[in-house]
């Protein structure tokens, strides 16, 4: 159905630190297709952001990357900085949680947007302004003509995030990486911003990577979900399979930790313990210390990511069968 746009193979990201190196991403492989939303979920520090920062050459200076990331045939990880800048300018855009850090507080929306449009698309000032207005209208900024001349602090959080999305569209990207785009927004605004992203995906045939902590966000938008734990993929599959029939104990635990207004009120069943430090030795299953299904073999043998019991792939020696899921308190 979809054309694969980005194909990532054996990606690892490590950071050199004063002590042991931090392994932020450990040998992961995945792909994203045009017109598809890939949801990436997992707890803080699991490596979600660094995976996608690595693709854009945006890691901190102590970070190193290995592996391949093919975008329309170009290996992003093998490009020189200049070539990467070029591809990024043409094909990839990022949207982050806090638009205030990405916007210049001293320049109007129009000034910032026209600069990008002149840079990326070589438009003259007048045409850049017309295009900026069109993009703001595209992301449903009400009263866009007036907001074009506003400064970031004069806009609400939701409006700023729309401006960020409009700016991310200025290079007509093929791949949009949205890292917690709605985490800082109120629920009433969150749902509007998500629906704008989905509309863009549909109408422009964009590939969207949606990074979030919130299972509700991926339930609304994602076609496929990748659950990340300690720098590895714990489970990957169709959104319906992963959310309704989780096969990895970590996914089931995350779902059982989240109260849901649409489901009857039941006792929460938290996952015990805490996620590991990135410096921890990587032997066996990284989830073993917290897992309710752990067996001795789990501590010694790293489970491969493959489809054992269901359509989705899971990195687990003893995956949950669909009927276990109710016991684990997984889906509602």
């Amino acid at each position: 159905m979809h054309q694969p746009l980005l194909d990532v193979r054996n990606l690892s990201v490590r950071f050199q630190t004063a002590g042991a190196p931090v392994i932020a991403v450990d040998n992961i492989s995945f792909s994203v297709s045009q017109g598809e939303v890939l949801g990436v979920v997992g707890e803080s520090g699991s490596g979600k952001s660094q995976t996608f920062m690595a693709l854009g050459g945006l890691l901190a200076s102590n970070g190193e990357t290995t592996g391949e990331a093919l975008l329309e045939g170009h290996d992003l990880l093998a490009l020189s900085d200049r070539e990467l800048d070029h591809i990024r300018g043409q094909k990839i855009s990022y949207i982050f949680q806090d638009p205030m850090t990405a916007l210049n507080p001293f320049r109007s929306v129009a000034a910032q947007m026209t600069e990008l449009l002149r840079l990326h698309r070589g438009l003259g000032q007048a045409r850049a302004r017309t295009e900026a207005l069109r993009l703001l209208e595209r992301v449903r900024v009400p009263d866009a003509r007036r907001r074009l001349d506003a400064y970031p602090h004069e806009l609400s959080g939701g409006m700023r995030q729309r401006v960020m999305i409009a700016m991310a569209l200025s290079n007509q990207p093929r791949l949009l990486i949205a890292d917690e785009p709605t985490t800082a927004l109120d629920v009433t605004v969150q749902i509007q911003v998500l629906d704008i992203l989905d509309e863009l995906r549909r109408e422009e045939n964009l590939a969207v990577v949606l990074i979030t902590h919130d299972m509700g966000v991926v339930a609304r938008l994602a076609h496929r979900i990748m659950v990340v734990y300690a720098g590895t993929i714990a489970e990957e599959g169709e959104a319906e399979d992963v959310l309704l029939r989780p096969s990895h104990p970590y996914t089931a635990g995350l779902l059982a930790s989240m109260p849901d207004l649409a489901a009857p009120l039941t006792q929460l069943q938290p996952i015990r313990g805490y996620p590991p430090d990135g410096r921890k030795a990587r032997i066996g299953c990284m989830f073993a210390p917290r897992c309710f299904k752990v067996q001795p073999v789990c501590r010694d043998v790293t489970p491969a990511l493959e489809a054992r019991v269901s359509r989705q792939r899971q990195a687990c020696h003893f995956p949950l069968e669909p009927r276990d899921t109710a016991i684990a308190g997984g889906a509602s």
Partner: protein
Amino acid sequence: MTTGMEGLEVDALSITYPIGQGPFRPRLELKAVREVSLSIAPGKTLGVVGESGCGKSTLARGILRLQRPDGGTVRWNGQSISDLTDDEFRHVRPEMQMVFQDPLASLNPRMRVADIIAEPLVTHRPELSGSKRQALVAKAMERVGLLPDMARRFPHEFSGGQAQRIGIARAIVLEPGLLICDEAVSALDVSIRAQVLVLLEELQQTLGLAILFISHDLAVVRYIAHEVMVLYLGRVVEHAERDTLFANPKHPYTQALIGSVLSKDPEIERSHEVPRIGGELPSPIDPPSGCPFNTRCPLVQPICRQTMPALVVQPDGSQVACHVVEAQKAA
């Protein structure tokens, strides 16, 4: 003045921030909290919800006298704390403790965990011996699930979830009667948030805590709260028992909030219609006349632009401030 009521009682509390002061600027007022009344009995949790900027934190600050109210009273176990001198209030303050959103930022990075947790004891119970103090710290740590060997460590050695446990241990070490949690689980990861929520439930049962639980996350509030209060531009628009509020929200704003919450079930979420509430939160410096929600309300009537609806008790016991709800009741 005293009443017989145990726990917290807040009556018509209003708090105003002066802003835009300066030699050439007009003096403006931001009415952050307007005539908010509530009560929380021991062992009960009141959830406070609303969009950011609606006055939730200001309400908490007003209750703890961190912000001077311009009207209303706060009573603790029947005693008005609004009229107390600062000196007199110091004796009541240990009863009322707060847990903040950002666990690491709220802990002194140069103090060891045991000293952080002991701090309220040093301030409010200086008569305690060192060994008695240590015993109380150890007990608080055990209650929140921190291991004894963590006592000598510094905050930066802890994850967010562990740091929040330290914050809670510090808040409960004096065995307070009231715990105010201002977005206390919002910064935590899903699995750790669930741990902390379960911990708060357990502590409430063992200590008989009254909890004021402020959050913008309605699913979390439904889980933890017995009653829920919805604020909009500093005013209570709806206040009801938990089950009543979530099963039958009456105020158009409450309906919009609940209708915006995402479900983790994709089959539900794919057909979830977005509530039609227009526009954005109006400026709290210049709120709309009449009903504060009238600029966004899908049910707005001419009267809503003129007259502020009163908070009225409904047949099911909930309180709602809306003209249309009133008119429907009469019909």
